[in-house]
Amino acid sequence: MTNLDELLIFSGLSLLALFFARKSLMLRQLAPVLYACILLILIKMSALAYGGAIETSSFTIELLGFEMSWRFDALSWFFAVITLIAALASAVFMSGDWARYYCEQQGEKGLQRYGLLHLVLMLNVFTMLILLASGDLLSLFIGWELVSWASFWMMALSPEAKARQAAVKYLVYAMAGAMALLAAIAMIYAAGGTLQYGQLVAVLTELSKTQQIVLVLLFSTAFSIKFGLVPFHLWQAKAYAYTPGPGAAFLAAISSRVGLYAFVVVFVQLIGFAQLHSLDILHSVWLNIQNILLWIAALTVIIPTYIALQQHDAKRLLAWHGIGQGGYMLLGLMMFDSIGTAGGLMHVFNYASYQAALFLTIVAVVYRTGTSDFNKLGGLVTQMPLTFLVMLIGIIGLAGLPPMNGFVSKWMVYRSLLLNGQPLLFVAAVFGTLGTILSVYKLIHNTFLGQLRLEHQQVKEVPWSMLIPMLALSLITFITGFMPGLILPWIASIQQSIGLPVIAYDLGGIVYDKGGLDMIYVCMVMFYGFGVGAVIFYFLGGRSKRVHQYDNYAGGHFLSSKVRYHYSNNFYPGLMNLIGPWYRGSVVWLEKAVVSLVSLASNLFEHMYRSRQPVMMLAVVMVFALFAVLVKSGASI
């Protein structure tokens, strides 16, 4: 039995175990242990991440004349580790006091629903592992569908009617994506009669250019929908915002990244840079697939980030950022050089670490206050200092500022854009970062800073069962920012295995002849600066006095707790004056147009079926068919 067999069988058995334990509270101890065990098996396979050989599974299935096989390479391992870390953090978070809270929330069937949440989380992990292990297009498709349905189930767990709507919307998008993938697979099969990865390249060269473009468009539609690229991003924020608690943290951290995984496998590993770069539309050298994807990525960085800026709900704000951050990953990946692809791939890990932590802080805030609405929060920093710390670290990472890991990956992407002569894309990326900084400030200000509401005076810090996973994720965010060399070997090994130029690194960061990055040095300088500042502030400054949180004044007036000055509406009035008119919702319009079109066609057919004279219909059809025969007969019969 190979390591991969062990991994898949064990996670399948874990799923069964959770199924049978779903109605007992033993689940709370069992689930984290199971995730830890799966993580251990992955660590056993860690040779993959340091240039080891591909792990294959001894299962193969032959059906309909296709052979399906499963294997793990450095890329799969990388994504699997992220999946397991996110799942472990979510499971630990769920297993403590949050469990009681959730059961009470859900009413009489609380325990059952809580068990279901654990079960579905494990199902998500299991299907992710199956997808990551896929060794040919058919098993890729099967894994793809399974992951989509597992995340649909996770989203549909919330009992609210709106959540169900969001989940169904996701499902329709996901089905459309899956069908696009199926169409692409059918095209490949028609051209080459095979679905093996290895043969894809040979098949591709046999197709005409138009067919190649259609094929690539079908693939990219499928992957973009799951990944949430503009203009297929509309499902994501709503669906994730309604997903119950830690489930949302897991989904937001990794689930939609399977889109990126597929991009890497199909576009980078199989089709490759040269092919993508030479596929141009309308005979314009500039309008090639690579450039189009780059600009879609840039739009994905900008548009959702600025939509996030307008949100009044913490979960939604984070979910919109999730879409925007995906843009950076694709931006780096599509540069096809060592530093850009490394940045894009590393961003998956970094993003997952702080996004999971951020979502968990919001869940923690909801646990204590019952809401994630910015207009009903504020000033919680004195009440929940550690949660505040986690969020602070998280947003520094999300905004891509040192010393957190988000800075490292974003720096690499910027660097690659500049070095490869893409100043416009660089500006777009920086513009996106500006929006990120503004909106994460809104996030932390409206939850933890500013005015504490009267009803939140008794709020306490969340229990340790919830703090530990959050703090652990923050620690990862910091450590991998301080020493990116811990992660970079994995990235280098991926680059090597999929045939990209390999990045040179050391513990502190990147070694590059045109200017590398040493995070240890950067952090030391930063801490030194902060240290000097602290010395000046605490020891050399004038007298200071502690004041109560409610002891405020503005415009010469005292503000008591009864005066509400903490709000989220029109948070950046000056900025909105400038960019407000750009919010048009044009993609929403596109979605509505498609629905109307379907509705119209449906109406037409329904009228046809409602006809009062079915026999007349029969006669008409017969005449038409015979007429068609007559017309055709001149040509062929």
């Binding site: 569908e145 089905m175 028609a190 057919f605 329904e606 046809m608 079926y609 068919a625």
Partner: protein
């Protein structure tokens, strides 16, 4: 092998005997039908073993074809007969207080079904088709639940269905005028010469549209949603699951043996695609369970037509697999619809009342959509990939439409399913006409049947590989025109073909016809 004729004779005899037997004992009359079906099942299984991979023809009354009545028996026919018997066994009005004539009608329907499966000539196909139609009018009109509505619906169904029969008869008449024969094997020999012309092709169109009325073919299927709304669930299972398939088989027999040419296949492809698209679109707007299932059934039949439009054995096995899959899935869904009945508004939150029924519903729906690893996925995959392998670009557009239709299908089915799982506070305030509150014995029985179909579906999933191989072998055998001709005319064909080849070298021999068309 001659005892296979009993498949038609016994149920017919039983249908006439039931009133007589009922005079002696009511119980015996009730038992007669199931006994006949069980006996026939036994016959079928023994024939399956005896036949192996060969086939045989029965000449009724000893007339040698092309004269007389011929039954053609191969694995395909036996498989269909087994399915027919099993379905009838399930939908038999077991514990309902029904009038005796309903038993007779069911037995008539059974005889007609076997006749359609086994007949080797066009005239008998027509006769059994008519018998099927008449028996089904009787059954629909006899629905005790909505007697008045049933009569009106039956009348409308009767109009369109008999118009369809007329077209079918017209088509057969044209074929007879062109060739002077109605025996399928004989027709298969002469088809390339006499039928592949304008008149012959019109005959095919007429047959396809005529039988298409029962096969729920676009656009002569307006009756579907009306009829399924008034009939009882077992009858709906029978009509959607089985009778529509038998009409398809009639069309396919004609297509396979006489018209393996691109025009006929394209015709099926076009009506199939239109059926899929229109069915899914109208189902998308449906607001009650039965209407949704009816139009989903139209779409599935469209998919079956698309499958048969792939030439040769590949199309046949995929179509066959789709038929069986649809039989299981729609059967299960219609039986569940007894429990999950009514408009969608009434179904809100029903998962909390009957969680297992809704779980079964989800299982069937997932297979219907084609989600791995359920059987529906493999069949759909095979269909898509084989369509992609066709050269004609029309097949590629068909793929596009199928995929779009699948997305629409997922949208409406899961809108309903999430509604079922919704938690509604104001639920108790609504006046519910929900039938699950009424726990009748019928209700429970249908629910058991739904469970049975689910078990079947799961076992198909587990044994997908051997089932695929069996179906493929069956399809290879029954799509082989030569094999059919040889079986029916052991001596005649060889001499005929040889002499023809010698006299007219331009005439294609039947061996190569499949490849060149």
């Amino acid at each position: 092998m001659n005892e296979m004729a009993l498949l038609v004779a016994l149920p017919l005899l039983g249908a006439f005997l039931i009133p007589v037997v009922a005079r002696i004992s009511d119980f015996a009359a009730k038992l007669l039908g199931p006994l006949i079906i069980l006996f026939i099942l036994g016959l079928c299984f023994s024939a399956w073993n005896a036949l192996g991979s060969s086939a045989t023809a029965i000449y009724l009354g000893g007339f040698i074809p092309p004269m007389g009545i011929t039954f053609y028996i191969d694995q395909f026919a036996i498989l269909m007969s087994i399915l027919v018997s099993l379905v009838f066994l399930v939908i038999w009005p077991w514990n309902k207080e029904v009038e005796l004539r309903e038993y007779s009608l069911y037995l008539l329907l059974l005889a007609a079904s076997f006749g359609l499966v086994l007949s080797g000539d066009l005239f008998n196909l027509y006769v059994f088709y008519e018998l099927l139609a008449v028996a089904s009018y009787g059954l629909i009109a006899n629905q005790s639940k909505h007697r008045g509505l049933a009569a009106a619906v039956t009348l409308r169904f009767l109009f369109i269905s008999s118009a369809g029969s007329v077209l079918l008869l017209l088509g057969i008449a044209i074929i007879y005028t062109l060739t002077g024969s109605l025996n399928i094997a004989h027709l298969a020999v002469v088809a390339p010469e006499k039928l592949h012309n304008l008149a012959g092709f019109s005959a095919f169109i007429l047959i396809a549209i005529g039988a298409g009325v029962k096969a729920e073919m676009f656009p002569v299927n307006a009756w579907v949603s009306e009829v399924y709304a008034v009939v009882s669930k077992p009858l709906a299972v029978l009509m959607a699951g089985l009778i529509s398939k038998l009409a398809v088989i009639l069309i396919i027999r004609v297509l396979l043996m006489l018209y393996q040419q691109p025009e006929a296949l394209q015709f099926l492809l076009i009506v199939g695609v239109l059926g899929v698209i229109s069915g899914e679109l109208v189902a998308w707007r449906a607001r009650d369970m039965i209407r949704m299932l009816s139009f989903s059934s139209i779409a599935q039949l469209g998919l079956i037509f698309i499958a048969f439009s792939i030439a040769g054995e590949k199309g046949l096995w995929i179509g066959l697999a789709l038929m069986i899959h649809h039989l299981i899935v729609k059967g299960g869904l219609f039986f569940l619809a007894e429990k999950l009945n009514g408009s969608f508004a009434n179904l809100t939150g029903c998962a909390s009342r009957s969680p297992f029924a809704v779980a079964l519903f989800v299982l069937f729906v997932l297979s219907l959509l084609g989600i791995p690893p359920l059987p529906g996925f493999w069949i759909k995959l095979a269909l898509i990939l084989n369509l992609a392998a066709e050269v004609d670009s029309m097949y590629f557009y068909a793929i596009v439409f199928i995929l779009i239709a699948t997305v629409i299908e997922a949208a409406y089915l899961f809108k309903l399913i999430t509604r079922m799982y919704q938690i509604e506070e104001s639920q108790q305030l609504l006046p519910t006409s929900h039938s699950s509150s009424v726990k009748t014995s019928e209700n429970r029985l249908y629910y058991r049947f739904a469970q049975l179909f689910a078990v079947l579906l799961i076992s198909v999933m587990v044994f997908i590989s051997p089932i695929e191989k069996t179906l493929f072998n069956i399809a290879r055998q029954s799509s082989d025109v030569n094999f059919y001709i040889k079986t029916v005319f052991p001596g005649y064909y060889r001499s005929h073909a040889i002499s023809k080849q010698q006299t007219d070298p331009k005439q294609l021999s039947p061996d190569k016809r499949g490849e060149t068309s």
